[in-house]
Symmetry: C2
Subunit: 199 residues, 2 copies
């Protein structure tokens, strides 16, 4: 006989009466996860904010799950080594899925540098409800913007594991959208995402 701790896999999933479908009906729109991936400084948060504003004006129910903010609360126990980055993305994907289940249009801004983690997020959330937006602003431009001063710190050797400098960013292979903020304005970026949502 093996002594075990309670294993949640042994307990049946709790199924509740109200589902995503009823919540979507009440809200008047489909629930989605829009995942903005790209380097620090690429413009993810700026696009997310403008997108949420536009959706809110259309009376759509949104939430921004911001990677930096989540690292201050839910994921404050995680660092920046590869396995911690994967766990960070896994947890964000799980929360995004629950918020989608709640009927929301969830806008995720998260570097999510590894393809396998983004693919796992897509597999978890489901292809139909997942829009991967690659904000493709090149490193040189992001580094020039350096809104948080992180590239400067990284180049000065004051910080380790900076994506694009001493930690890799794997370019998305088949994102639904690619937005290069050098040539695509914030308004145009939002327009392209809204266009995709309306498809």
């Amino acid at each position: 006989m093996t002594l075990k701790t309670t294993d949640p896999a042994q307990t049946p999933e709790q199924v509740f009466t109200i589902t995503q479908s009823e919540r979507e009906s009440m809200k008047g729109h489909a629930a989605k996860v829009i995942w903005l991936t790209g380097l620090s400084g690429s413009g993810k948060s700026t696009i997310a904010n403008a997108l949420e504003l536009a959706l809110h004006q259309q009376h759509k129910h949104t939430y921004i799950l911001d990677g930096d903010n989540v690292r201050r609360n839910l994921n404050k126990d995680l660092g920046f080594h590869p396995e911690s980055r994967s766990e960070n993305v896994r947890r964000i994907a799980e929360v995004a899925l629950m918020m989608k289940d709640a009927g929301l249009i969830v806008i995720v801004t998260c570097i999510a540098p590894f393809a396998k983690d983004r693919d796992a997020a897509r597999a978890l959330i489901g292809d139909a409800g997942f829009i991967e937006v690659y904000v493709s602003t090149p490193l040189a431009v992001c580094e020039q913007r350096d809104p948080k001063g992180l590239y400067k710190k990284s180049r000065a050797g004051l910080m380790k594991n900076m994506t694009g400098i001493d930690s890799p960013y794997e370019i998305p292979g088949q994102p639904e959208l690619v937005l290069d903020t050098r040539v695509c304005s914030v308004v145009e970026s939002v327009g392209r995402i809204l266009g995709w949502l309306e498809q």
Copy 2:
């Protein structure tokens, strides 16, 4: 010079234009977290389901954050030792706070056996938006119901760390509501929570 990994505390919090207040206005009601605590089998999920149904019929925007289900997804890396239980409650509280920020009425069903963890959840979410509901059904009744067969397994020595058997449950000191399902029907329980929400 100390080499550090990127420290999120060094980066300013991202602040977005649309806030909880705008989301509440769109939804037409205040966002809240209703936390049902109590032993396994006490009736938390049954009350949560009936409460969500009632709120949905009032066109209120809800989500049930179910402790058992969260252990199958977001918290599937956690076990049932005291420190894992605390981390389980911490993460649920963080997600509940984000969902409240999204404007939802969040119904949490989670044993949350330790007072310090429930108090931390309340402190995080804020007193005004937090309703602690102690589902006080006594152990003997929960054990008789044993909807998941966990008490039986625990008594047979097939399982460790079962709350109420070989892991403690600390009774809430000042919950907003106490519901003993021996004497309080599901309909009455829901009515009492709705009454509290309308205050």
